[in-house]
C-alpha cells in the first residue's frame, strides 16, 4: 500500500489505551441491573496522540475551499469566513439548551428574529421560518406549505407539481414525499422553461411550479414574468429553489419577481461551511398569504407591555421580549427543536459584516467571475448556451474535438492531478450531455480563474495529444480511480475484525 493510505482507527487500536480522562465517581454507586448491561463494546482503544494523528492525516487527504478553488456547480463553494467560526463557538450561544425557558435565551431568540427580518428584506418575502435543516428540507417545507394553502381554500383537486427538466433531483424527490404528482416541463432551445409546454399543463390541478432561477444552466429565465403569470393565472403557486440566490443577492428580490415561496441555502449563499456534506440550513420565505402555514416554531417579537409570558425582565426593561411561536395553521414540525442554530449564527455574522453594498458585490462578482470564465473557455470546450450572458455559473461540455474517447469524467479526474482546483460538478444538469457545471463563486481572484483556464486548456490539448494521461488520471492523488461498481455489488459498509 502507498504511504498515503491511512489505516482504519480500528487497526491502530490496542487494548488498554484511551484518549480521555474522566472523573472518578463522586456519589455512592447504585447497583447496575445485570440483566440489562452489555458484555462487550467493540469500540477502538487509542491514545490521544494516535487519535489526533489519525484524523489530521485523514484531513490531509481532503480537498476543501481552504486548499484551493472548488468550482462545484450549484454548490456555491465560496470562502467560509473564519470570524463565523469564532462567533458560533461563543459559549453564550454554543452552550445553551433548546428547552431553556425563553427568558434565559433572549440573545439566541433576538439573533434568530433579526435573521428572519434580514432574510425577509433580502428576498422581499413577508415571513421566514428558520426551521428547515437543509435545502431539500426547505423544498419539502415549501411543497407542504403550498399544498396546505390550497387545502385550506377547499381547492382539493390540486395534486400536480410542475418541475422543469433542468431541476435538481431533490425537487421531484421532495414532491413524491409530499404525496403529490410530478409533471416534468421541458426546456426550450435557449435554456428557458418551454412556455408552450408549460401552458398545456396549467389547469386547476396545479399545486405549483418549482423553479430554480437562475436555473441549473446558470441562466436567468428570460420569460420569468410570463412564467409566473401563467402559474398564477391557473391558481397555482410558484416555488423558488433558492440554491442559486448568490447570483441575484441585492440585485433582485425573488418575491417581487413573482415567487410565492423560496428556500435559502445558508450554506451556499450566506457563507456557512459545507462541512463535508452538512450541516446546512434551509430557511423558507413566503408571501403574506402563506405565512400562517409555515413550519415552526418561528420567533416573534413582543414589546414588554404586551408580553404574555408573565415573567419580569429586570435586566432590560425597555427591551422587547422574543418568543417562540407556532404559526396558526402550520404544516407541522420538520425536526426537533428550532433550526440549525449554530449555522444561523454564522449566516447572521456574514450578513451583518457585508451589509447591502457587500451583498450586492457578492452577486456582481459571482456573475462577473462566471462570465469571465465562460468567455475564456468558450473556444476550448463546447458551451451549449454560451451565446447568452450567464449568471453565477455555466455549463460546458467535456467533449473535445479530436478526442472522441475523452469524457467529462476524464477531464475532471485530470484536473485533480494538476493540483490547483477541485473538479466542477459533472453530468448535471442531466439535459446537457457530458456536462461540466462550473461555479467559480465571487471569492476567487482573477489569477485563480486564469490558472483554472490554463489547466482546462492544457487538458483539452492533452486530450488530443496524449489521451492516456486523462484516462489514467488521477495519478497524483492519495488514491487512484475507485471501483464504484465493486463497492455497490460487494457492499462493505462497516469494518469487521479480521477472523483470528
Amino acid at each position: 500500500m502507498s504511504e498515503k493510505v491511512e489505516s482504519l482507527i480500528f487497526e491502530i487500536s490496542s487494548p488498554g489505551r484511551t484518549a480521555v480522562s474522566l472523573p472518578t465517581c463522586d456519589v455512592p454507586e447504585t447497583e447496575l441491573p445485570s440483566d440489562l448491561t452489555r458484555d462487550d463494546l467493540p469500540l477502538p482503544e487509542v491514545s490521544e496522540v494516535d487519535l489526533i494523528r489519525h484524523y489530521i492525516r485523514l484531513s490531509q487527504l481532503n480537498w476543501g475551499v481552504d486548499v484551493g478553488m472548488y468550482p462545484l456547480g450549484s454548490c456555491t463553494m465560496k470562502y467560509n469566513p473564519k470570524v463565523n467560526e469564532v462567533a458560533t463557538r461563543l459559549p453564550g450561544f454554543a452552550r445553551t439548551h433548546p428547552y431553556q425557558d425563553h427568558c434565559s435565551v433572549q440573545g439566541n431568540l433576538q439573533l434568530m428574529y433579526r435573521l428572519q427580518e434580514y432574510l425577509q428584506e433580502i428576498s422581499g418575502f413577508a415571513a421566514v421560518t428558520l426551521h428547515p435543516s437543509a435545502g431539500a428540507h426547505g423544498e419539502f417545507t415549501g411543497i407542504l406549505v403550498m399544498h396546505a394553502y390550497h387545502q385550506a381554500n377547499g381547492d382539493t383537486k390540486r395534486t400536480k407539481i410542475l418541475i422543469p427538466d433542468s431541476a435538481h433531483g431533490t425537487n421531484p424527490a421532495s414532491t413524491t414525499m409530499s404525496g403529490l404528482q410530478v409533471v416534468e416541463i421541458p426546456s426550450d432551445e435557449r435554456g428557458n422553461v418551454d412556455l408552450a409546454a408549460l401552458k398545456v399543463q396549467c389547469d386547476d390541478t396545479v399545486v405549483g411550479l418549482m423553479l430554480t432561477n437562475p436555473n441549473t444552466l446558470g441562466l436567468f429565465e428570460e420569460h420569468l414574468l410570463a412564467v409566473t403569470d401563467l402559474i398564477h393565472g391557473c391558481g397555482g403557486l410558484v416555488y423558488g429553489d433558492g440554491a442559486n440566490l448568490n447570483a441575484i443577492l441585492g440585485v433582485a428580490k425573488p418575491a417581487t419577481l413573482g415567487f410565492d415561496v423560496m428556500h435559502f441555502n445558508l450554506h451556499k449563499t450566506f457563507s456557512t461551511p459545507h462541512g463535508g456534506g452538512g450541516p446546512g440550513s434551509g430557511p423558507v420565505g413566503v408571501s403574506a398569504r402563506l405565512a400562517k402555514f409555515l413550519p415552526g416554531p418561528v420567533v416573534a417579537e413582543e414589546t414588554e407591555s404586551e408580553c404574555a409570558c408573565g415573567h419580569a425582565h429586570p435586566d432590560h426593561d425597555d427591551e422587547p421580549c422574543y418568543h417562540l411561536v407556532m404559526p396558526e395553521a402550520s404544516v407541522g414540525r420538520l425536526k426537533a427543536f428550532y433550526g440549525n442554530f449554530g449555522v444561523l449564527v454564522r449566516a447572521y455574522t456574514y450578513i451583518r459584516m457585508l451589509g447591502v453594498e457587500g451583498l450586492r458585490e457578492v452577486a456582481e462578482s459571482a456573475v462577473l467571475n462566471a462570465n469571465y470564465l465562460q468567455a475564456r473557455l468558450k473556444d476550448v470546450y463546447p458551451i451549449p448556451y454560451g451565446d447568452r450572458i450567464c449568471m453565477h455559473e455555466f455549463v460546458a461540455q467535456g467533449e473535445i474535438e479530436g478526442a472522441p474517447d475523452v469524457h467529462a469524467l476524464d477531464v475532471a479526474k485530470r484536473l485533480m492531478d494538476l493540483g490547483h482546483s477541485h473538479p466542477p460538478t459533472i453530468y448535471f444538469p442531466l439535459i446537457v450531455p457530458e456536462a461540466l457545471m462550473i461555479e467559480p463563486t465571487e471569492t476567487e481572484s482573477k489569477e485563480t480563474l486564469d490558472q483554472f483556464v490554463a489547466d482546462l486548456s492544457q487538458i483539452a490539448e492533452e486530450a488530443r495529444t496524449n489521451p492516456e494521461l486523462l484516462h489514467e488520471a488521477p495519478r497524483d492523488t492519495p488514491v487512484g480511480r475507485l471501483d464504484e461498481v465493486r463497492a455497490a455489488r460487494q457492499t462493505v459498509l462497516r469494518w469487521v475484525p479480521p477472523a483470528s
Partner: protein, 461 residues
C-alpha cells in the same frame, strides 16, 4: 467586507474579456423594473464590531458555562473532549463538500466509514448510514423505510406514547401525504404489552424508545416479545435509543430491533440551542439497500489500494429523482465526524464509564430528591440518566426560582407535552454534574418549597 478579491483593474480587464461595459450589463435578463431594488439592512460592521455585538447578545443567555444544568429531554449536556473540536475545526474537513470526487475526499469518506462502523458496534446492527438531520428526522425516515419495505401496502404505524413528542410530530409532518394510520401514542398509558395488541397485518412498523422520553429502561425480554409480535406480521421493530446508554446497556440489536436510530448530539456535539445535530441510523443487513441517506462503502482503486466511496447511490434523489428513497441530499457530515472522533476518543472503556457516571449520579440525585418533603418519583421503573419527579409546586415556579436565585437550569416541565403529567419535572443528570451541583439542586428545591410554604402560611394569617 465581502471577501471579494478584485481590484478595479481586475474588474476592467474581466469586463473587457466578456465584452460588456459594466457589471450591470451582466444582469440584462433580470426584468428592468425589478433590478436593483431598494434594500434596507443595518450598516456593515467590522470584525471587531460584530464580535462585540455577538458577545453582548450571547451574554444575554444563561449558558451552561455559568449555570448548572439538569435539563435533557432529547438534547444533552455531555462532556466533549478537546480533541473533537480540534479535529472538526480542520478546514480540510469543514470547507469540503459532499465527496463527489472520492480521490480527493478520502478524509471525509474514511471518517464516515469509521463512523458507520462504530454506530454498528454501538447498536448491534449490520449497517449504518452517514447520518440524518437529527433524531426526529431519522425516525421519520425509518417509518418511510418501513412503508417501502412493505411496498406501501401496509399503512399502519404503531408508535409508543413515550417516544419524544417532537419526534412523533415530525413523523406526522413527514408522512402527511402518505395516507398512514398512526396509532398507539394517543393514550399515554400504552406500555409495550398494550402496543403489542395494536399490531395487525396492516402494520409496517412498531416504534419504541429505550430509554424512553421519561428516562425509563425496558427489559430486553419485554422488547423482544414485542419484536416477535411485529415480525410475525412482517412489520419492523424500530428502536429510538440514546447512544450513550448503548455504552452500558444491551444494544437494541440484542432484543429484536430491525432499525436503531436516535439523536447523536450526545456524541461530541455542542448543545447549540438545538442544532446542528445528527440523527444516527442503523439497520439489519436485509434493509441496508432500503435505507435513505448517504452510505459509504469500501472498495479498491486502480492501484490496488483500499479506498472508500459513496455507494448504493442508485437509491438517491440525484439519480432516481421522483423514485428516490428520500429527498435527502446531504448528511450531517461534520456532526458525524464529531461523533466518530468522540466514540474513538472514548473507546471501549470510556463510553461505558461515561454511561456509568450518568447512571450513578442520576440515581443519587433521584434518591435525594425523592426524600424531600412533597417530592416523589413519578415512575416505579428502572432508569438511566433521566427521571420524572412529582413536585409540590408548579414546575414553572420551581424553574424560575432555580434559575434566578440559584443559577440552576431545572428540568423539563412535562405538563408541556403530557397533560396527565402536569406538575412533573423531567430531570437529567450526566457526568457533567458533580456531587456538589446535585447537592446544590437538592438544597435549592428544599428551600424553594419551604420558603413558598412559609409565604403561604403568612398569607393565610
Amino acid at each position: 467586507m465581502s471577501y471579494v478579491p478584485h481590484t478595479a483593474a481586475d474588474r476592467r480587464a474581466m469586463l473587457a474579456e466578456i465584452g460588456v461595459e459594466s457589471v450591470e450589463d451582466l444582469f440584462c435578463d433580470v426584468p428592468q423594473q425589478h433590478r436593483y431594488p431598494e434594500l434596507s439592512l443595518p450598516e456593515p460592521l467590522s470584525e471587531i464590531e460584530i464580535l462585540a455585538e455577538l458577545r453582548d447578545m450571547s451574554e444575554q443567555n444563561a449558558d451552561l458555562d455559568h449555570f448548572f444544568c439538569f435539563l435533557g429531554a432529547g438534547a444533552y449536556n455531555h462532556f466533549v473532549p478537546s480533541v473533537v473540536d480540534h479535529v472538526i475545526s480542520r478546514s480540510e474537513f469543514y470547507t469540503a463538500y459532499t465527496p463527489y470526487q472520492p480521490e480527493v475526499s478520502q478524509g471525509t469518506l474514511q471518517s464516515i466509514f469509521e463512523y458507520q462502523s462504530m454506530i454498528c458496534a454501538l447498536t448491534g446492527m449490520d449497517a449504518a448510514n452517514a447520518s440524518h438531520y437529527d433524531g426526529a428526522t431519522a425516525l421519520a425516515e425509518a417509518v418511510i423505510m418501513a412503508l417501502n419495505v412493505g411496498r406501501h401496502k401496509k399503512k399502519r404505524v404503531v408508535l409508543s406514547p413515550s417516544i419524544h413528542p417532537e419526534y412523533r410530530e415530525v413523523v406526522r409532518t413527514y408522512t402527511q401525504g402518505m395516507g398512514l394510520t398512526i396509532v398507539g401514542d394517543d393514550d399515554p398509558a400504552n406500555d409495550l404489552q398494550a402496543l403489542q395488541t395494536l399490531i395487525d397485518r396492516d402494520t409496517c412498523c412498531v416504534v419504541v424508545q429505550n430509554p424512553d422520553f421519561f428516562g425509563r429502561l425496558s427489559r430486553p425480554a419485554e422488547t423482544q416479545t414485542l419484536a416477535d409480535a411485529a415480525h410475525a406480521v412482517k412489520a419492523l421493530l424500530v428502536v429510538v435509543a440514546d447512544p450513550i446508554s448503548c455504552g452500558l446497556f444491551k444494544p437494541p440489536g440484542d432484543y429484536g430491533a430491525d432499525v436503531v436510530l436516535g439523536e447523536g448530539q450526545a456524541l461530541g456535539n455542542a448543545l447549540n440551542f438545538g442544532g446542528p445535530y445528527l440523527g444516527y441510523f442503523a439497520c439489519r443487513e436485509a434493509y441496508a439497500r432500503k435505507m435513505a441517506g448517504r452510505l459509504v462503502g469500501e472498495t479498491v482503486d486502480s492501484r490496488g489500494q483500499r479506498g472508500y466511496v459513496m455507494t448504493l447511490v442508485a437509491r438517491e434523489q440525484h439519480i432516481r429523482r421522483e423514485r428516490a428513497t428520500s429527498n435527502i441530499c446531504t448528511n450531517q457530515a461534520l456532526n458525524a465526524l464529531a461523533a466518530g472522533v468522540y466514540l474513538a476518543a472514548m473507546g471501549k472503556r470510556g463510553l461505558r464509564q461515561v454511561a456509568e457516571l450518568c447512571y450513578h449520579k442520576a440515581h443519587y440525585a433521584a434518591q435525594r430528591i425523592a426524600a424531600l418533603p412533597g417530592f416523589e418519583l413519578a415512575d416505579d421503573a428502572l432508569f438511566f440518566k433521566e427521571f420524572a419527579v412529582r413536585c409540590p409546586l408548579p414546575v414553572q415556579t420551581l424553574n424560575d426560582e432555580l434559575l434566578e436565585e440559584w443559577g440552576i437550569i431545572g428540568g423539563l416541565d412535562l405538563g408541556r407535552f403530557y397533560p396527565d403529567r402536569a406538575g412533573q419535572m423531567l430531570l437529567c443528570v450526566t457526568e457533567m454534574n458533580s456531587r456538589e451541583e446535585i447537592d446544590c439542586l437538592v438544597e435549592a428545591l428544599e428551600e424553594i418549597v419551604e420558603t413558598w410554604e412559609e409565604r403561604e402560611e403568612e398569607h393565610d394569617e
